[in-house]
């Protein structure tokens, strides 16, 4: 900031109508109801983006104060201290200190506190006070505190902390306008002080990371303030303890957890199916309708098979994403997510995964797209990236049509080992191969990328709360919106690119064979054919892999196109019979092995790009999965040939 004698906060202040907009940042412990307060303040006037260069989500909203002043509110990631330990917390620290590139330093910081759990946030408030930026303490959930008979002397607390203290109930919008007024008054007082002394009072100058001794000192100070201002609850919350006795029980706890996960998986897997079918049918109908109106040609193909089909392939993910996030946000708001991580820590930890990785990985059995989006429940960056990298190895539902086609065409329908279906066994083997390789890859990622580093597991288990339906719905809708706007555009452009490769140039008049042969996809397929010959793939199979990048189940249609088998209810059976003629058993098994590992899904790569905010991780994912797929197909093919199935 410039030491100028004006009241303007600094050179980065935008000019024009927004010049007098107040900038406010929300800081608080996790589970303090910070997001609920942000929603209560800003309503639907929110913008979500990423901070430059990092995966941290930036949430900003607008509130008009009772006096009519525009106030821009920034919701910073939750933290216990300014001593940042994760990329999220680095953002919080730098934003508060005013060091964050491209970000105007906040005029006022609102420190959000759970009124029933003040000990740690008081220390954070003292840290904020030491930074010297004007602050206001929002004492959230005061209704619960009152119910518990917890007496808080807010005047004394305000005097001790040197900042206004405002009681709020974010979910009922209580205390919101008082909070905004207090923030405005604080900013004006600060500006006046700046003008008087001729230099800005606030700022993050000279902040250093507190040592262990300094943390102890601040904690003792917080403890003293707590004793002086807060009388312990007369009717403390006993529900949390009683529920934990069951939910963290070695037997009942696990049983209930498995039950919850089962219901969630069923809802994502089966519950979303009818809506997804409806969406697919709707887009097919739209495409057919448009096709009738347009003359045959490249334009019709672009609109129907490129754009409409592409938009359809984006929207079709929405039901799964919304259902999954409804569960995740409910479990998070109730306070159960931390318990699930506690119960699963040892099981997942063995493979070097975080306890919270379980939900994203389970969801990936339905589809890796919502699964990868669900990795936001994992705070630690490394744990999150590891989970993202292995999520597509979980056998998603889009692989099922491919597996079914090949297995029913090549694996004899007979019983082995006393009554087990051989086809079922192969199916199970493919699922198991996916799961085991995911664990192995997670273990290897930890060794290679993170050099065995493991994060400490140290986590607050919040008191159970009844979730606020309006907040839950708003947050679920936000996830759907983010998916459509950010991942959706990337997926759509990839779909159009794949359409282009498979359609252009068109088939010359009077030429024989399927049109795809003459397109760029055909050219690429023929070119990389020799590379895939050692794993038993014919050039037709190689060509089919390119449209198959659109989605895994598209491979079935793509094989149909290449082998010129088309249309009708019976097409899958006809195609199976045709493949059984043209492929050797060894090639078919190699194709299955390829599909367990290969990154045959452009949407997954697009979502990884969006979630990690760089092309680095999707490229690494593409590379390692292709390598694994090649290796697995090679071993399977060579083994099968050696056993006489070539």
């Amino acid at each position: 900031m410039t030491p100028s004698a004006t009241t303007a906060p600094g050179p980065m202040t935008p000019t024009g109508p927004a010049a007098d907009a107040l900038r406010v940042a929300l800081v608080g412990n996790p589970n303090s109801g910070k997001t609920a307060l942000f929603n209560a303040l800003t309503g639907s006037r929110q913008k979500v983006a990423n901070y430059a260069g990092v995966t941290v989500e930036r949430k900003e909203g607008l509130v008009i104060s009772p006096s009519g002043r525009r106030t821009v509110v920034l919701d910073l990631p939750g933290t216990y201290s300014l001593r940042a330990r994760s990329p999220d917390e680095v953002v919080t620290r730098d934003a508060v200190l005013g060091h964050l590139a491209g970000e105007v330093p906040p005029d006022v910081v609102i420190c959000v506190a759970d009124a029933t759990n003040l000990r740690l946030v008081l220390r954070l408030a003292l840290e904020l006070k030491a930074v010297g930026r004007p602050a206001v303490l929002a004492l959230n959930m005061v209704d619960i505190a009152q119910r518990q008979g917890l007496d808080i002397d807010t005047d004394r607390l305000s005097a001790e902390l040197g900042m206004p203290v405002i009681g709020t109930v974010a979910t009922r919008r209580r205390g919101i306008s008082e909070l905004v007024t207090a923030v405005e008054a604080r900013a004006e007082a600060d500006a006046a002080a700046d003008a008087e002394t001729g230099r800005p009072q606030s700022g993050g100058h000279g902040w250093t990371e507190p040592s262990a001794a300094e943390i102890r000192h601040l904690h003792r100070e917080a403890e003293r303030i707590l004793k002086a201002c807060v009388r312990p609850p007369r009717r403390p919350d006993t529900w949390t303890g009683r529920m934990d006795d069951v939910l963290l029980h070695p037997v009942w706890g696990i049983a209930i957890l498995l039950g919850i996960l089962f219901v969630m998986f069923q809802a994502v897997f089966a519950g979303a199916k009818p809506v997804m079918d409806l969406i697919t049918a709707g887009f097919d109908a739209l495409s057919a309708l448009v096709a009738q109106r347009l003359p045959e040609g490249l334009l019709r193909s672009l609109i129907c098979e490129g754009i409409i089909a592409g938009v359809g392939s984006v929207v079709v993910f929405l039901p799964q994403i919304l259902i999954l996030f409804l569960f995740i946000i409910l479990l998070e708001d109730v306070g159960y997510m931390a318990r699930a991580a506690f119960l699963l820590d040892r099981i997942m930890g063995g493979a070097g995964l975080h306890g919270r990785a379980f939900i994203p990985l389970l969801s990936s059995f339905a589809c890796a797209i919502p699964g990868i989006m669900a990795t936001r429940v994992i705070d630690n960056r490394r744990d999150r990236l590891t989970t993202i990298l292995v999520a597509p190895l979980m056998t998603c539902s889009a692989r099922i049509p491919v597996y079914t086609l090949i297995i029913s065409a090549f694996v004899p329908a007979r019983q082995v080992l006393g009554g087990l279906s051989l086809q079922g066994l192969v199916f199970f083997g493919l699922y198991a191969a996916g799961m085991l390789s995911a664990l192995a890859v997670a273990w290897a990622v930890r060794k290679v990328f993170w050099r065995s580093a493991s994060e400490p597991f140290l986590m607050e288990l919040p008191a159970y709360k009844v979730p606020d339906p309006a907040n839950v719905l708003r947050n679920v809708a936000l996830r759907g919106h983010i998916f459509l706007r950010r991942a959706g555009t990337t997926i759509l452009s990839m779909m159009v690119l794949i359409w282009f490769l498979c359609t252009v140039p068109g088939k010359p008049a009077g030429a024989a064979g399927p049109a795809i042969d003459y397109s760029f996809a055909g050219v690429i397929g023929h070119a990389i054919g020799p590379l895939l010959a050692p794993i038993g793939f014919s050039w037709q199979m190689t060509v089919a892999l390119i449209p198959g990048m659109a989605a895994r189940e598209v491979a079935v249609g793509a094989l149909g196109t290449v082998y010129a088998v088309s249309g009708g209810e019976e097409s899958s059976r006809v195609l199976g019979a045709s493949l059984a003629h043209q492929w050797s058993l060894a090639s078919a098994l190699a194709f299955l092995a390829w599909y367990v590992f290969a990154p045959q899904c452009a949407s997954t790569l697009a979502v990884v790009k969006r979630e990690t905010n760089s092309w680095r991780w999707p490229l690494i994912m593409f590379g390692y999965m292709t390598g694994l797929a090649y290796l697995a197909a090679f071993i399977v093919y060579r083994t099968a040939v050696a056993m006489g199935a070539g």
Partner: protein, 110 residues
């Protein structure tokens, strides 16, 4: 898994009284252990990733401070790890290896 994880729980054949005058590491405690934190220090084999000093600061920030009351409420079902403790009026989950540096003065037995 690292050897630290094969938790050295107090052998049951030993008298249940702790080794050093009522002082026991939180990492060795069983469900029901109650007491006051006597010291929070850098545990030697604490964690491979985070330096011992960093772990100490994280514990302090979570409220594991000298004088705080702790009680082990729950234990994980594999190897009794991680543990869930009541810490003053909060509940915190942590692994035993992270709890190693937290020494607890247990309440005198009634």
């Amino acid at each position: 898994m690292s050897p630290v994880n094969s938790v050295p729980l107090p052998p049951t054949d030993r008298p249940s009284g702790p080794a050093v005058e009522g002082l026991v590491s939180l990492a060795d405690g069983r469900r029901g252990l109650c007491g006051v934190i006597a010291s929070v220090g850098a545990a030697p084999l604490a964690s491979d990733a985070v330096l011992a000093d960093e772990l100490e600061r994280r514990l302090l920030e979570m409220g594991f401070v000298e004088g705080a009351r702790v009680e082990i409420l729950h234990e994980g079902f594999i190897g009794r790890d991680p543990i869930c403790v009541r810490l003053d009026d909060m509940r915190v989950a942590l692994r035993r290896r992270e709890a190693r540096g937290v020494m607890v003065r247990t309440d005198p037995r009634p």
